[in-house]
């Protein structure tokens, strides 16, 4: 019971907000409910695609595969590959921190991991979903710029970090 409360604390807060608001502004609250539900229903098909595509990538694109392409000898090419691979990794960032940590310990370059984390901001499976809200031009520009920045970020991070360590 306590655990359920903690797990669903956000949902419960939203639910309680609705109940309280419905006493004071029944009309407005009902409109909010309608707006939210319609948005959800519109997004449900793409959301289903996202979860299934994510689980596909998680199973068939193993961390080992990713690790293979980002050894220490990797130059700029490695950084770019790291960035591109980063866009395909799915899941919340904090779940992936240990994975990135492992990569560093196993000898991946800081620039490659930095670029991967940077590029992780592009969530490939989510792109059609995002475009549904913001339009394709917006998403295309964001993706291109984020990818380019991820490469620069990786290289600069390595420079700064290695410089400080000396």
């Amino acid at each position: 019971m306590k655990k359920a409360l903690k797990t669903y604390s956000f949902e419960i807060i939203v639910g309680i907000s609705y109940i309280i608001l419905s006493f004071f502004y029944p009309q407005k609250t009902f409109t909010a409910l309608k707006v939210g539900t319609i948005l959800l229903l519109k997004m449900l098909p793409i959301f289903l695609c996202v979860v299934f595509f994510s689980s596909f990538l998680a199973l068939f694109l193993s961390p080992k595969t990713i690790q293979k392409y980002m050894g220490k000898q990797a130059g700029l090419k490695g950084v770019v590959i790291g960035a591109v691979l980063g866009t395909f990794i799915v899941g919340p960032l904090w779940v992936l921190f240990p994975l990135f940590g492992t990569l560093l310990k196993k000898g991946a370059r800081i620039s490659v991991v930095g670029a991967m984390i940077g590029a992780f901001a592009i969530k490939t499976p989510w792109i059609p979903y995002a475009a549904g809200f913001l339009g394709w031009p917006f998403i295309a520009i964001t993706v291109v710029l984020t990818l380019a920045y991820a490469v620069v970020e990786g290289i600069l991070m390595e420079k700064v970090l290695l410089f400080k360590m000396k």
């Binding site: 669903y8 956000f10 949902e11 907000s17 608001l21 502004y25 407005k28 609250t29 409109t31 909010a32 309608k34 707006v35 939210g36 539900t37 948005l39 959800l40 519109k42 997004m43 098909p45 793409i46 959301f47 289903l48 695609c49 979860v51 299934f52 595509f53 994510s54 689980s55 596909f56 998680a58 199973l59 068939f60 960032l93 904090w94 921190f97 990135f100 940590g101 560093l104 930095g114 984390i117 940077g118 901001a121 969530k123 989510w126 059609p128 979903y129 995002a130 475009a131 549904g132 809200f133 913001l134 520009i141 964001t142 710029l145 984020t146 920045y149 970020e153 991070m157 970090l161 400080k164």
Partner: protein, 166 residues
Amino acid sequence: MNISGTVIYAVVVLVSYAYAFKKDKEKGKKGIEKGWKQFLKQLPFIFAIFLLIGLFDVFIPKSAVVSVIGRGKGFFSIINAALIGSVVGGPVSSVYPLGAVLLEKGTTVAVAAVFMNAWIMVGFITMPFEISVFGKKFVLVRNIFAVIGAIIIGMITGLILAGSIL
């Protein structure tokens, strides 16, 4: 929501799974199970997020949004968007519809983009965990670069789409 995008995405998912089942039937099944489990797990949260967006849409007046991150406030709005986006965190599924609502409420393209970029790239809440994996220096450098990147990318997005970096 554009229907063609959804259809294309559904086809991509189907093709992925056709490949998956051909390559490894057990793994393919596991993928579907995993995806479905993820869906059920995330559904309550997603629903709550959309209901919250409904509330936000109906109850938060345009003027409130405009006064903090609105048009005509120049760089002030950009910095605020970066700050709010960095501190508030949550699944990407919620940030895109939120960005769309912000645009509707009268922020500029650049401000909405900065907000979303910061939300995705900077992890303020998960920072302690990130530090435990990578160490303070790495995390500090990464997040500083992430904030700078969020602002630059957002401003360029605004420049390209709306002809203004602010």
